[in-house]
Every structure is written in C-alpha cells, then in structure tokens.
C-alpha cells in the first residue's frame, strides 16, 4: 500500500491552532470531515478521544499518531497536521507534539489501517524525514517528501 494513495494536498493542514490535545483532535477531525463525504466530525472526534482515553498516541520526537476504528468513514482516511507551537499530547518523552497523523478506518478495513500505521512509524525513523515535513510551507512539499520515501529515493 502507498500512503500517497490516501494523502493528497487537501488532507494536510499546516497551521494547526489548537493549544491542547482536545483542540488539536477537533481541528484534525473537522479537516477530515470536510474532505470526506458522510463523515460526521462529532462521531470521529468521539472515536479518537475514546481511543486516547486508553492511552496517548503521542510518541517521541514531536510525533503523534491519533487513530481509531469508526464506521463513519467509508475507507481508511488520513489527515496530516502540523502545529508550529507544539501541544502537550501526553507524549512518551514528555515533549510537545508538532506533527500529527490522524488515521481513521472502518472496522472492515483493519488490514490497510495497520499497514498504514506501521509504514508511518517506519518513515518517521528515517533521518531527516520528520524535519522535512515540519519545515514544509505547502502541502505539496509534504506529499513530495512522502513520495520520495515511498519511491526509495530517500
């Protein structure tokens, strides 16, 4: 599976304004809802917050992968968000989170969901990849960075 089949420029929000976990998740699910027919933002928000209550998806080095299974989406949906200021996402290393990958899939699409999460976890370990995304000024630069990795060019 290729992430760029699921992430287009319209699925990227470079200027997250939320100042805490709840606000950032709200912004991300609203963005997803705007670009996904029949996705109700409130339903998505509930699904993601329910998952967060089981344990934070804030990883190390400013990355968070909030995710959930929810039949309000028609297929695996991904939104990438960047917060320049960073927010407390209860990350493993206690540092503010800047780069967010929101991933929601219907209950019947767990295979692609697991593969996409695993792929992002691998990608963020590649030297320079995370920095490239954080420096992006346009959504297309994020797509290009992901594509380069998927094409084995980085």
């Amino acid at each position: 599976m290729r992430l760029t089949d699921y992430i287009g420029p319209e699925h990227i929000k470079l200027d997250l304004e939320g100042t805490d976990k709840q606000e950032v998740i709200e912004e991300l699910v609203e963005h997803m809802s705007e670009h996904c027919s029949r996705c109700d933002a409130d339903t998505l928000f509930e699904a993601v917050m329910n998952r967060e209550r089981d344990g934070s998806t804030g990883l190390e080095k400013g990355i968070a992968i909030p995710h959930a299974k929810c039949d309000a989406v028609d297929k695996l949906r991904i939104v990438v968000g960047i917060s320049k200021e960073g927010v407390d996402f209860e990350a493993q290393d206690g540092q503010p989170s800047h780069l967010f990958f929101l991933m929601i899939a219907p209950t019947t699409e767990s295979g692609p969901h697991v593969q996409a999460i695993a792929k992002i976890v691998k990608m963020i370990k590649i030297d320079g990849f995370r920095e490239k995304l954080l420096k992006a000024e346009r959504p297309e630069q994020i797509i290009e960075a992901i594509e380069r990795v998927e094409n084995g060019e980085q």
Binding site: D54, G55, L59, G111, A118, V121, K122, I126, E150
Partner: protein, 161 residues
C-alpha cells in the same frame, strides 16, 4: 515422471497483487493438474511491533488481531470462489505468527513444489528490504518461488480460462 508441479502453495495478503497471483496460480493448477493450497497469515509480528512502539495498547492489539483474522477468512473465501468459478477445488490455510516463518513451514509441511506470491512491496530503504514480508519469504522458503506481476494481462487470461 511425476508432476513437477504437484503441489502449489499460494500466499495471499489481501493486496490486489496477491489476487493477481491467485488468478495465475488457479490457471496453472488447472492447466497442469496441480493441487493448490492458499494461505493467509495474521501478521502478529507487526502488531507486536506497534504495541512495543506504544502506538497500540494491549486491548487494541488483540482487537486488530481478531479483525485481521476475519480479513484472512474473507480473502481466503474469495480465492475459493475464484477457483470454484473455474471448476477447481483448493485447500485454505489460516495461520497466525511471523509471516515468512509460517509460509516457509507450510511450504515444507506440504512439500510444495512451487510458492506463488504477488509483487514485492516497495521498500523504504536498503535495510527495510530485509523486513518486507515478500522479500523475507523469498529468502526463507526452500522451494522455487514465483513472484507474479502484470495484473492486466493475467486478468484477461483468467477471464478467458
């Protein structure tokens, strides 16, 4: 002389490419009178890695494991129907574990003459190539392996079968 392709093992992971591999395996089994076994493995290793990375919590991992098992059953049922449409009966195997090890074990247990699988996945780095399941299977199994490409051509051939 006995059939050099007596038993063919087909590995599927639910990808479109593995469906293409299934179409070719069914065509071969029909043409050469092979016994065909289709296999899916719930990738417990991947789930364990995501748990270790703390992306998943324990309950969630178990939940996804059940989902993937259901996916596997659905994919295998689909392959059974594909084969049935061409008048062929196949055996199915659903396992859980480390994918390449389970496939290699099954290939040995059923004395497979050939393993058929879909295209190899794209790799993120040279190091990553050692962790791609298709690559690992290639390295691990002891029987000949066929990696299937060319979806359009194979689909046409399958339809004409």
């Amino acid at each position: 002389m006995s059939n050099p392709l007596g038993t063919v093992l087909l590995y599927i992971d639910g990808s479109e490419s593995s469906i293409t591999a299934a179409q070719l395996a069914i065509a071969m089994a029909k043409a050469y009178g092979c016994s065909l076994r289709a296999m899916y493995v719930v990738n417990e290793n991947l789930l364990a890695e995501l748990l270790k990375a703390k992306v998943f919590v324990q309950m969630e991992k178990m939940d996804y494991e059940r989902d993937l098992e259901e996916d596997g059953k659905r994919y295998l049922n689909y392959i059974v129907k594909l084969a049935d449409r061409k008048g062929l009966q196949i055996e199915t195997i659903l396992r859980k574990g480390v994918v390449h090890e389970e496939v290699a074990r099954e290939a040995e247990d059923c004395a497979a003459d050939l393993l058929v699988q879909g295209e190899l996945g794209e790799v993120l780095s040279l190091r990553d190539s050692f962790y791609e399941e298709g690559e690992r299977i290639l390295r691990k199994v002891k029987c000949p392996v066929m990696v299937v490409r060319g979806a359009d051509r194979i689909e046409r051939m399958f339809d004409d079968l």
